[in-house]
């Protein structure tokens, strides 16, 4: 059941399904004929293009040109990435992917970190995000939050403590 506000919001934007139906073949064909990618890869790239289009739909003036630009750039980017990939030598082809060796230990840690992040106040979300996800130095965090480096350091420490306390509490409640 959707309310009147939602109904209005949905009706105001272009129907992405219709745009997809109208242009999909052309875009898949372009990726295959111009860049020589496989049909499966072309379909995946076209899907990404339409996902990007959903957010941009209200800004795009010439839909076909925009979609064409997006699929060409997406395919070139994909080919650049693929060109960097190097085939595995036959002697290690049966070896497990090093990235997945510690997956059983790493995955719970990552999930815990995400859960932990979700427990925080917005101020702490931002402070820790800047410091640890974006790699801001403490003076840069201070500049972003319009405070002194000393206070920014204090805030980061307090937020880490908040993360620890709230996650512990959540664990105890389970």
């Amino acid at each position: 059941m959707i309310g009147p506000e939602q109904q209005q919001a949905r009706s105001q934007r272009a129907d992405v399904g219709e745009v997809y139906e109208e242009h999909r073949r052309f875009l898949v064909g372009t990726a295959i004929s111009r860049f020589g990618v496989s049909e499966d890869d072309a379909e995946t790239l076209v899907h990404d293009v339409f996902l990007a289009y959903i957010i941009k739909a209200n800004e795009v003036v010439d839909v076909r040109s925009w979609l064409l630009g997006a699929i060409c750039n997406a395919t070139k980017h994909y080919l650049r990435m693929r060109a960097r990939a190097v085939g595995l030598p036959p002697d290690i082809i049966e070896e497990p992917d090093p990235a997945s060796v510690r997956v059983m230990q790493r995955l719970p840690d990552e999930l815990a970190a995400r859960e932990c992040f979700a427990c925080l106040t917005p101020r702490c979300q931002l402070a820790l995000r800047l410091r640890y996800l974006e790699g801001y130095s403490v003076p840069e965090v201070a500049a972003e939050l319009l405070t002194t480096p000393k206070y920014a350091q204090k805030l980061v420490t307090r937020c880490l403590q908040q993360a620890y306390d709230r996650y512990q509490r959540k664990e105890t409640e389970r």
């Binding site: 506000e5 992405v16 917005p122």
Partner: protein, 381 residues
């Protein structure tokens, strides 16, 4: 293929519903954001639609209230960190987060915090660069970064980014952004003192912009063309261009830009010796900036008035106005500008012909916006 189409529709509907649900909450947050920073984030807010709505409001208040725009973009990033990653496609998360970073960078740029702006734009670029389908978004960040580079005098880097982004915009047939790049190129030539190259770039941008319905870019081009024509001594063409810019900005409800354009018109009147009209116009401009809380801009208008008052031998009024501005700068803690104004105050009391020093102080206060650490040095005797 039905399933791919359906999944796209589902995502589009979901984001539209989330934004619609966020609208009234975000409207309320505009006046209660301070309190929201230290409260737990409600579950219902942890959606990409909510982040989009915050970013959109941040963009819409930028011109009127850049500090609020910055706070909203920061809040959008805080909310984005709490959005469950598994609920959306990775490219959608990157795109929405990238928009929030870009909004933050632009708010910093409006507030002359250029290092912070560049850091935010870098973060936006990291979001977009992971997906080739977001190449136009990445190019838009490059263009925004070029604006910052041009503000801080890194002209060659700015020009390189404009060229690079223009190629991407052309591949999307995004004429509007190509024109914006040409306009910026003109501004860089202008700042470098290459007036003829600037004029050529502005006129080329004007031709393209006139074919489109992009009033904001058109207004900016007329404004810049007007400024360059003043320096080329083509005063009547300059007045026409500035008047068009002012009318367009007024129609777009951009009070700060209207103020800046009227300030340029007033300087043109000063240049032509129409002192009384210039002073009356500058007084209006000054009040406009004071109402917007833009103390440095209001100070610049006052310094132009001081110039006009001295030219009409009203030294006492010039001195009173300088003292008023000095008090405003002190209240706003514009430390370096205070030094320059105090120097001017002394000079107006004693110096027989202070015009050159007034221009020197005005230029210094103007330069402080892009170079806040610049040290004031009086003109040599």
């Amino acid at each position: 293929m039905k399933s791919a189409q359906d999944s796209l529709r589902l995502i589009a509907d979901r984001l539209a519903d989330e934004r619609a649900a966020a609208r009234s909450v975000v409207a309320t947050l505009r006046t209660s954001l301070d309190a929201a920073w230290d409260r737990a984030l409600p579950e219902a807010w942890r959606t990409l639609g909510f982040v989009q709505e915050l970013t959109s409001v941040s963009d819409s208040v930028l011109e009127q209230n850049p500090a609020q725009s910055r706070a909203l973009a920061q809040f959008a990033l805080a909310v984005a960190a709490a959005v469950p990653r598994a609920d959306y496609p990775a490219i959608t998360i990157a795109q929405v987060e990238g928009h929030a970073w870009k909004a933050l960078g632009t708010a910093h740029r409006y507030l002359s915090a250029y290092d912070a702006a560049l850091r935010a734009y870098d973060a936006a670029r990291r979001c977009f660069a992971a997906f080739g389908a977001l190449a136009d978004e990445e190019a838009a960040v490059d263009l925004a970064t070029a604006v910052v580079f041009s503000e801080i005098g890194r002209f060659d880097e700015a020009l390189a980014l404009i060229e690079q982004s223009a190629a991407t915009f052309a591949s999307f047939r995004d004429e509007q952004r190509v024109v914006q790049g040409t306009l910026l190129k003109g501004m860089i030539h202008h700042r470098r003192g290459d007036l003829r190259a600037a004029r050529i770039a502005y006129e080329s941008a004007l031709m393209s912009a006139q074919e489109r319905d992009d009033l904001h870019t058109l207004a900016a081009i007329h404004n810049n063309l007007g400024q360059v024509l003043i320096e080329l001594n083509e005063t009547s063409a300059a007045a026409d261009a500035l008047a068009r810019a002012r009318d367009l900005f007024a129609g777009l409800e951009m009070p700060a830009e209207v103020g800046r354009t009227e300030g340029a018109l007033a300087r043109l009147l000063l240049h032509n010796g129409a002192y009384e009209r210039a002073i009356a116009l500058l007084q209006r401009v000054r009040q406009r900036f004071l109402a917007l809380g833009m103390i440095d801009e209001a100070g610049l208008a006052a310094l132009d008035m001081v110039d006009g008052l001295v030219a009409t031998n009203d030294r006492a009024a010039a001195l009173r106005l300088t003292e008023t501005v000095l008090a405003e700068f002190r209240a706003a803690r514009l430390e370096r500008a205070i030094v320059a104004l105090a120097y001017l105050q002394e000079l107006l009391r004693e110096h027989p012909s202070p015009a050159a020093s007034i221009h020197h102080v005005r230029l210094y206060v103007e330069q402080l916006r892009s170079d806040p650490d610049r040290v004031f040095l009086p003109l040599p005797e």
